[in-house]
Amino acid sequence: MKILVTVKEVATVEDEFEIEGTAIADQYLGEDLNEWDDYAIEEAVQLQENGVADEVVTVTIGPEDCEQTIRQALAKGADRAIRVWDDALEGVDLLDVGAKRSILQEVIAAEDPDLVLTGVQSGDDSWGATGVSLAEELDYEWAAVVNHLEHDLDDGIAAVRRELEGGVEELTDVELPAVLSIQTGINEPRYASLRGIRQAQRKPLDVQTLGDLGVDESAVEGAVTLTDMYEPESESDVTVWEGSADETASELGELLRDKGVAP
């Protein structure tokens, strides 16, 4: 069985930042492997260790800069990586669900995996919709927000739990091939070992352009246009206590006594 994991390097934002146009100014941005994808990678690697999967391939859409982040997945045990990038993607400030889908679908069609694992969402733009779109497009089955997967995958069925609201889980059988969007907490993502990190340097990382994949450049435009970005207006009338930790702690202590909830 072959598993494909979609991974993304997400932008992280410092506490203090400035917005330029429709983006956060570069100097306030950092990068990280998307939290949800880390769990998806771990799940795939465990399926491989358990002898269920033969190959784990990752795919990402991102510039050369993100290779270090992508290699983290290889260091944790994925076998090879595909990175899609193209001049046409340079400077695009928003890839909507349709745009991501039209790129990733070609990779999946070419790789023909039995199981695709995505994160529930990416931490930066949080569309939470790419996995299910891909499934629909490719005629795969799917399940969103999966926090447990039985590893036998017998009879072409993935038995999963979907994490619903309010501490309720749904027990569902999903026919393979399928796309599962993986929720945090499904496993304990490992740290890459030094050996893994060394090995990752030698694992294949294949770069493909839109042309290579046969994706029309116009697809990256998407249907959704980002028109503005701003800090949300705070509706709060929060009282901020200033001073040393001792001072602020005693303000809070006083509040608790006033409310009659302190011992």
């Binding site: 203090e16 779109s133 609201e165 309010g166 249907a223 959704v224 702690a249």
Partner: protein, 317 residues
């Protein structure tokens, strides 16, 4: 092509609150397009649901009686067929866990764009402008798209529709292709049980990722002991296995309404806030003065928890 179709959400025999909120959002949008608001309720005791959903502002309710509980295949097929029949301009779907399990499939199958988790939406009849957050709520964005679209709406952003309406209630005869249903729901399980019920606590000392390491959790427990309070947490703490699941506050954990909720090193992501915004008094201890938790906090300390928490514990020892 100016109507709005909104799909409602229910689980285990109960309509979920977002079903009444989506009426409000849908009505606003339909007023802007000059069209009708159609609701659909799919699977389960649809006639009973339809009666409850007949609130002010709804023009028509379509019931699809196939299935008992949510199945994304049934929802996808039924919604797609309703779209073909009614030709609405916009399809609204709750941005719930189940909404995210079929809305993208509906959009993709119909070749429509999708915007998810919107907190505001308006249209001039042609261009839809959707407001949504990015970077865990640090910024808001506006996003434009032309023509028909699928939009998923965040829960608790619109008030619930009230009153009694006079919608026409019609059964919609969906043609569900059973062979195309590739997933089967076998049941549900309540997790997060156990010895402690954080929703009963008067004071919650709630810890988030700002605590950095499992080894630091005791400073939170010491504070809770000193205050005679109960420890709860945000999700990453439970995901990491540092506290049991029954301590998790939020969308997928517990909803709590204590007298005082002390959020320590918690950013205030929407899924967390969903579980604690009803607290009487909210205190946030966070180094980031812009953290979204500040929007709902009553009191805040913009300082390092590793300084403030021990100082507070000392106050009460």
């Amino acid at each position: 092509m100016s109507d709005v179709l909104a799909i409602t959400d229910h689980r285990r025999g109960e309509l979920r609150d977002v079903s009444y909120e989506i009426i409000t959002a849908g009505r606003e949008l339909a007023d802007e397009t000059g069209g009708d608001l159609h609701l659909a309720v799919i699977s389960g005791t649809v006639d009973d649901f339809a009666e409850k959903l007949d609130r002010e502002g709804v023009d028509a309710i379509h019931t699809v009686s196939d299935g008992e509980e949510f199945n994304h295949g049934v929802y996808t097929q039924a919604t797609t067929q309703l779209y073909d029949e009614l030709a609405p301009q916009y399809v609204l779907i709750p941005n719930s866990v189940n909404g995210l399990d079929y809305a993208p499939a509906v959009a993709n199958g119909l070749d429509l764009p999708i915007v998810t988790d919107v907190v505001g939406v308006e249209t001039d009849g042609e261009t839809l402008t959707a407001t949504r957050e990015m970077y865990g709520g640090k910024v808001e964005t506006t996003n434009d798209l032309e023509g028909p679209a699928v939009v998923t709406i965040r829960s608790a952003e619109w008030p619930q529709a009230e009153g009694t309406g006079d919608a026409s209630i019609e059964s919609f005869d969906a043609d569900i292709d059973e062979d195309d249903l590739g997933s089967t729901v076998n049941g549900f399980e309540e997790v997060a049980g156990g010895d402690v019920d954080i929703s009963e606590a008067d004071v919650l000392v709630s810890v988030g990722r700002g605590i950095e390491e499992e080894d630091n959790i005791p400073i939170i427990e010491e504070l809770a002991d000193a205050l005679d309070a109960t420890v709860s947490s945000s999700r990453p703490i439970v995901d990491n296995g540092w506290l049991p699941k029954n301590r998790q506050v939020g969308q997928s954990g517990k909803v709590v309404t204590p007298d005082v909720y002390i959020a320590i090193g918690i950013s205030g992501a929407v899924q967390h806030v969903a579980g604690m915004k009803g607290s009487d008094t909210i205190v946030a201890i966070n180094t980031d003065p812009n953290a979204p938790i500040m929007d709902i906090a009553d009191y805040a300390i913009h300082d390092d928890l590793f300084d403030v928490v021990p100082a507070l514990t000392e106050e009460f020892q």
